[in-house]
């Protein structure tokens, strides 16, 4: 793609990735440089493409459910929730209140683990070694709850179409409460390390600025959109799984730079704890599965259902032809769409900031490539 002419003979094309520690997976970015300034980029993706949407057409609705965990593998619970909600929409059923409350708790817990992984690796990219150890230490406590609940830590397959497979274990509420109590001081601890750290602030402030209008133009969602001043969160805008019962704020910031995205995500973790505390205090009793036939066979039709995943709007567009297998499953991945804005964010900036901007987008390549 690089065509050095006589006039821009100084242009340098640099290949970054796919094997590069700060691309968080197998992302390859071809950078066009003028000195240290980035003049253009091209993303090469697809290294992790497994044909998830094709697999869906060849599996039953129930068989496909575990596959969705392998897309955004650091937020598997959110993927599962979105898929289950989409199929439930097609079947026109709703999970019982008890299942919904447990879903909310686990999904918020998963948002925290996803944000912790982002914070640790993002800080590591920038040169702060310590936070990654703190984050993984505390993430472990959350993963233990997943493990106790369903036996798996990452690709949990925690939910079933129509509700939950497992009743919560004895001591679940206490463990969630203990996590909440433990976690808030830890967020303060991370902030103490970073928020006013001069190196951290200098590396992030004013870097990779994206305005709210640009976000909408590119379809960027999630914390990135909120850091650009757009107060929009699907949990509030189109509540699902009973989110309307919980009291929480949507953190926003105004500058749309890398530092603002950091503060937004930090505050989101606190809000997640707030939601979990409310949910765990009033888990309703009752069944954990909706009344439905054992064979999932939705009527002919289609539905688009989306949720607020840790990275943004995660949507499933499912077409049914009244067989046990979906006719088409389309996943609208937040990472894929957000990554598209990378070019806009790094153009004109310094090459050293590219690493910071990839980190701040919080992409997971499993979800980009599917």
């Amino acid at each position: 793609m690089a065509q050095s002419t006589f006039l821009d003979a100084n242009e340098l094309v640099l290949n970054m990735g796919p094997q590069h520690p700060s691309t968080h997976g197998v992302l390859r970015v071809i950078l066009k440089l003028d000195g240290e300034t980035v003049t253009g980029t091209e993303c090469v993706i697809g290294y992790l493409h497994r044909g998830v949407e094709k697999i869906a057409e060849n599996r039953t609705y129930i068989q496909f459910a575990p596959y969705v965990d392998r897309m955004d593998y650091v937020a598997a619970v959110s993927n599962g929730l979105g898929y289950c909600l989409a199929i439930e929409k097609l079947l026109n059923i709703e999970a019982p209140p008890r299942a919904q409350a447990v879903r909310v708790i686990l999904t918020e817990l998963n948002r925290i683990t996803s944000h912790l992984l982002w914070l640790g690796t993002h800080a590591l990219d920038i040169g702060a070694i310590t936070p990654v150890f703190y984050c993984f230490r505390d993430r472990e406590e959350a993963l233990k709850i997943f493990e106790n609940y369903c036996g798996a830590r990452l690709t949990t397959h925690a939910f079933r179409i129509g509700g939950l497979q497992y009743e919560v274990y004895d001591g679940f509420e206490q463990e969630v409460r203990a996590f909440c109590d433990m976690f808030i001081p830890k967020v303060d601890e991370y902030e103490e390390l970073l928020t006013n750290n001069r190196i951290w602030v200098n590396r992030l402030k004013g870097v990779g600025v994206l305005s709210g209008e640009e976000c909408k133009e590119y379809g960027v969602t999630g914390p990135v959109l909120r850091a650009s001043g757009v107060k929009w969160d699907l949990r509030k805008a189109q509540p699902y799984s009973g989110y309307e019962q919980y009291d929480f704020e949507i953190p926003t910031a105004q500058n749309g730079d890398t530092y603002d995205r950091y503060t937004v995500r930090m505050e989101e973790m606190r809000q997640s704890v707030r939601i979990m505390r409310q949910a765990v205090d009033k888990i309703p009793s009752g069944p954990i599965m909706a009344k439905m036939s054992k064979v999932v066979k939705p009527p002919v039709g289609e539905a688009y259902v989306s949720i607020e995943a840790p990275k943004g709007e995660l949507g499933y567009y499912v077409v049914s032809d009244n067989s046990t297998q979906p006719y088409r499953v389309r996943v609208r991945p937040p990472s894929f769409v957000n990554l598209q804005a990378l070019d806009r964010m790094v153009r004109g900036g310094l090459i050293a900031d590219v690493v910071a901007i990839i980190g701040t987008l919080d992409i997971v390549l499993g979800e980009v490539d599917r």
Binding site: K54, I62, Y218, Y317
Partner: protein, 209 residues
């Protein structure tokens, strides 16, 4: 509970080989009736609102269907009118966020690809889907000049279905390697199929089925 759930998922695998062919007869049934374009008998009901009125006024018979199913609204339009419809929705009705572009393949239909554009309005907190149908080998209009975010989404549709977009700035594959042959999400593309030549040349392995 775990044991109870297992039987639910185990009958389908047993019946899997015949099921693999199941979607086709359903699509064939739609082809037999020729005119109805959407999949066989989705129980959609007509959709009427202030928005549909203004769309009817602006586009007349270039939009052939206003429907709603499970509370989700969609319209079916002529392919040529697509970019002006999206432009109208963006500027006049505040549908300023293009959520997704995707396609569904109905091989028995003359215009086999149904392209689906999912739009959202921050102002009114509403979604609408715009659908168009294109035949194999026919180019669809690109909407990158309306929504910048359409760029990669259209490339993915091209990559997976082979639908090209007229006026797209960079119409290349995005997830698969550029020299790959075939379009995996077409219905005739088997799940076991792959580009053996590419795999052999580039990975140096005999790919086994």
């Amino acid at each position: 509970m775990a044991d109870e759930e297992k039987p639910a998922s185990s009958p389908p695998p047993a019946g899997e080989p015949p099921k693999a062919a199941a979607p086709k007869p359903a699509a064939a049934a739609a082809g037999a009736h020729v005119p109805p374009k959407p999949p066989p008998a989705m129980a959609a009901t007509p959709w009427e609102s202030a928005l549909t009125e203004s769309l009817k006024q602006a586009f007349g018979d270039r939009i052939s269907q206003y429907s709603t199913y499970l509370g989700q609204n969609f319209i079916v339009a002529n392919a040529e009118a697509l970019d002006s419809i999206l432009d109208f929705l963006k500027l006049e009705a505040d549908f300023d966020y293009l959520v997704d572009i995707t396609a569904v393949d109905y091989p028995k239909l003359e215009k086999r690809f149904e392209l689906v554009y999912i739009l959202y309005s921050f102002a009114s907190n509403e979604r609408v889907r715009v659908k168009i149908h294109v035949a194999d080998g026919v180019k669809a209009p690109s909407v990158v000049h309306v929504h910048l975010g359409a760029n990669w989404l259209e490339r993915e549709v091209f990559d997976m279905f082979g639908v090209e977009f007229e006026g797209h700035p960079d119409m290349r594959r995005i997830l698969l390697p550029e020299e790959w042959t075939g379009f995996p999400l077409r219905k005739e593309y088997s799940i076991l199929q792959q580009d053996d030549r590419w795999v052999k040349e580039n990975l140096g392995i005999e790919s086994g089925h």
